[in-house]
């Protein structure tokens, strides 16, 4: 029951947003809708903790600890971003950014587009995590692309079209591979009894007799699924759409793209990894994941080092972190799986916060190039500047913050399992990204600027940013016990048992 409500909440939000035409009403509907989604996600988490996996309609919808964790993250990001979006869209309307490329349509049309497409996007993301059927999972992931394409073209600029085209075509090609992988997975269990029904494609069913699946087919299926969902997660070398899409979409949407959507793509990968490792043993899928992980971390280093645009910098950072999480998955074992889940939480919080800060800076200066801002952010926008610096320190893994813990755990697990090469590359690329990000953001925030034009206090944008910053600080020292239970449960889903 709760699963249906969870899906209905954003769907209802979207249709209501479309129906009410006034801006304050759309804002209220979105806030209320995402608030409700968040509460439902909390409830679902509690239910999963108390009673184990929840399922509905003979296992058509299914949520275990892993799903509940990803759902909780998606719902939290959606809520924070919907608060932020109120301030962001009002500022865009005031500064005339919404009128750009509107082709004579009113700016109101764009507001409506944003407030309708975002809940649809969140709906698709939630559907990914509650569908047990691998085919429906694919349909939902494809739907996330379709719902978010027009968020990328939101400002109607020449560059946004280019970004959206790349996003749509690469996403389409990648996901067609994932569909092929799904078909082959279905086929790999086809010789077993009762596989001809709808349940034959259910993940929980396939996972329970993973040992009997056809090995040749499963091997090919995993490769295709990795390429497909890896494209969606932005693993190198299929990452090229990422910086473009993130820098063209409105900032709150970009924050959702780089956190919640990344988590969902990884979620799909994790599900296939579990099937493949139970069928073929952990070495085959693990080796592939480690390769893609190292490649993604490596490719982001030069781009972070020479980056001129701070939103693209954040995008390359996301590619780096996708690489880190895939590496953790590839290492396998209880410790690395635990670290993976922790890293997913910490990265989601820190990256969403970074995007919100970047949005504030972008709207104040009307540019996202380091060159044009020159530095001195801390004097112009003291609050945003300080939070920005803190968040970047957190995400590159400085010790007091939580990402240090999770990255350290991943490294420890990799060394214990004897992945020397991966560990060495992990440290090397980590150092590169560390240096690059710190230099750029450090000089942006601390450097000598020339125009002390203090920014005003914007309640919506600052409040949501500060709330997220508070969570980031607190979670570095104290992880609530139920949340940690959920994390441990999710890690157990990966390792089995």
């Amino acid at each position: 029951m709760i699963l249906i409500l969870l899906l209905l909440a954003p769907l209802l939000t979207a249709s209501l947003s479309y129906a009410v035409r006034r801006r304050p009403a759309m804002e209220a509907v979105n806030l209320a809708g995402f608030g409700a989604t968040f509460l439902l996600a909390l409830l679902l988490g509690r239910q999963v903790l108390n009673r184990g996996a929840v399922s509905l309609w003979q296992g058509f919808l299914y949520a275990d600890h892993l799903s509940a964790l990803v759902i909780l993250l998606t719902a939290s990001v959606a809520l924070i971003c919907s608060v932020y979006a109120v301030g962001y869209m009002r500022e865009d309307e005031r500064s005339g950014a919404l009128a750009l490329g509107a082709n004579g349509r009113s700016t109101h049309f764009k507001l409506r587009k944003y407030y309708t497409l975002t809940p649809l996007f969140i709906f698709a993301l939630l559907l990914v995590t509650v569908s047990n059927n691998l085919g429906v999972l694919w349909v939902a992931i494809e739907a996330t692309t379709l719902a978010s394409v027009f968020l990328v073209t939101f400002y109607g600029k020449v560059t946004s079209l280019e970004a959206a085209w790349k996003y749509a075509i690469l996403g389409g090609v990648g996901l067609s591979m994932a569909l092929f992988g799904t078909v082959l997975t279905y086929y790999s269990g086809h010789h077993l009894a009762g596989s001809d029904t709808l349940a034959g494609l259910n993940w929980s069913v396939l996972a329970s007799h993973a040992g009997q699946l056809d090995k040749t087919t499963m091997r090919l299926a995993f490769i295709l699924a990795l390429l497909g969902y890896g494209t969606k997660a932005g693993l190198a070398p299929m990452h090229t759409w990422k910086p473009d899409a993130y820098s063209e979409a409105p900032v709150p949407a970009a924050a959702i793209l780089s956190t919640a959507m990344l988590n969902c793509a990884l979620y799909g990968l994790v599900r296939f990894y579990i099937l493949a490792s139970r069928c073929l043993g952990p070495d085959f899928p693990g080796g592939l994941l480690l390769t893609f992980g190292a490649l993604s971390m490596g490719i982001s280093v030069p781009f972070v080092l020479v980056q001129r645009n701070f939103r693209r910098l954040l995008a390359y950072h996301t590619i780096d972190h996708a690489g880190i999480m895939v590496t953790a998955l590839g290492v396998g074992g209880p410790l690395a799986s635990l670290a993976l889940m922790l890293h997913m939480i910490f990265h989601t919080i820190a990256k969403a916060l970074l995007f919100l800060c970047a949005g504030n800076v972008y709207q104040h200066f009307q540019t996202d190039l380091f060159r044009k801002i020159k530095g001195g952010l801390i004097r112009v926008m003291p609050i945003t500047g300080a939070v920005f610096l803190m968040a970047i320190l957190a995400i590159i893994g400085m010790p007091p913050f939580s990402l240090f813990q999770s990255e350290f755990l991943i490294l420890r697990a990799a060394l214990t399992n004897g992945h020397w090469l991966s560990s060495a590359l992990f440290v090397l690329f980590g150092a590169g990204v560390f240096a690059g990000a710190l230099i750029h953001v450090g000089s942006l925030v601390l450097g000598a600027g020339d125009e002390p034009r203090p920014a005003a206090w914007h309640p919506w944008r600052h409040a949501s940013m500060l709330a997220l910053a508070a969570i980031l600080v607190v979670i570095g020292f104290w992880l609530p016990a139920p949340l940690f239970e959920l994390v441990r449960g999710a890690a157990r889903v990966v390792t089995g048992g």
Partner: protein, 228 residues
């Protein structure tokens, strides 16, 4: 009548149609005109619907009829008509400008077909005389070839609309793989996939239209603003 419904005969019909689908795919890859390309895609989808229908009759898999009808309505009729209207509306009838010229493309497609057969060979289980695997051998080879040629077409083409067509024919390869390997996916998944394909065509068409408006061209290789 009994003679007609014997699976042996059905197998031959299905394999022959699959071969025709492959020929059409290669013809599409070497083809220079957009409108012809759309029609080739339409005919190819029609043949796929035939194959799905034939499998449904000969191998007693009635749920495949729904997939066959959907393919006929969506991919063989609705999408081609929609795309031709789009072509009319944005007024482009010029040639596709492939990166690699037509004769070389056809040779490459031949090579990809060979790769398709090699991949499919590893799935061939002669001991399994009944069920999808027996049928799957040749069909899977064709499906993998369609898939690979679709990839090649996306890389080889520069204009937005032709890339969409390539993506669609790649999707056709997938459909062939599902019906030959497992007699189709569960119905709800099949419906979801069709819905997504339809939506994707719509979304991509809107993008094509806006790219044409903004760039005065559909050549996506001219979109080079975003780098680094």
């Amino acid at each position: 009548m009994n003679e007609f419904f014997n699976p042996e005969f059905g197998n031959k019909v299905i394999t022959l149609t699959a071969a025709l689908v492959l020929v059409l795919q290669i013809a599409g890859a070497g083809q220079r005109w957009i409108v012809t390309n759309i029609r080739v895609f339409g005919v190819q989808s029609f043949l796929l619907a035939l194959i799905a229908g034939a499998i449904a009759v000969f191998n007693h898999a009635p749920h495949l009829f729904i997939a066959a009808i959907l393919t006929l309505l969506v991919k063989a009729i609705a999408v081609p008509i929609f795309l031709e209207r789009l072509v009319d509306r944005i007024g482009i009838h010029q040639e596709i400008e492939p990166v690699i010229n037509a004769p070389v493309s056809v040779v490459i497609c031949g090579g990809l077909t060979l790769v398709g057969y090699i991949v499919a060979e590893s799935f061939y289980q002669p001991e399994q005389t009944s069920g999808p695997a027996a049928l799957g051998h040749n069909m899977l080879a064709v499906a993998v070839s369609l898939f690979l040629i679709g990839f090649f077409m996306i890389i080889n083409r520069r204009t937005a609309l032709t890339q969409v067509l390539a993506l669609l024919s790649l999707e056709n390869g997938l459909f062939l793989a599902t019906i030959s390997l497992t007699y189709g996916m569960p119905l709800i998944v099949e419906l979801g996939v069709f819905f997504d394909v339809l939506l994707a065509v719509l979304v991509l068409a809107i993008l094509v239209y806006r790219i044409r408006e903004t760039f005065e061209s559909m050549d996506v290789s001219r979109m080079r603003r975003l780098q680094g």
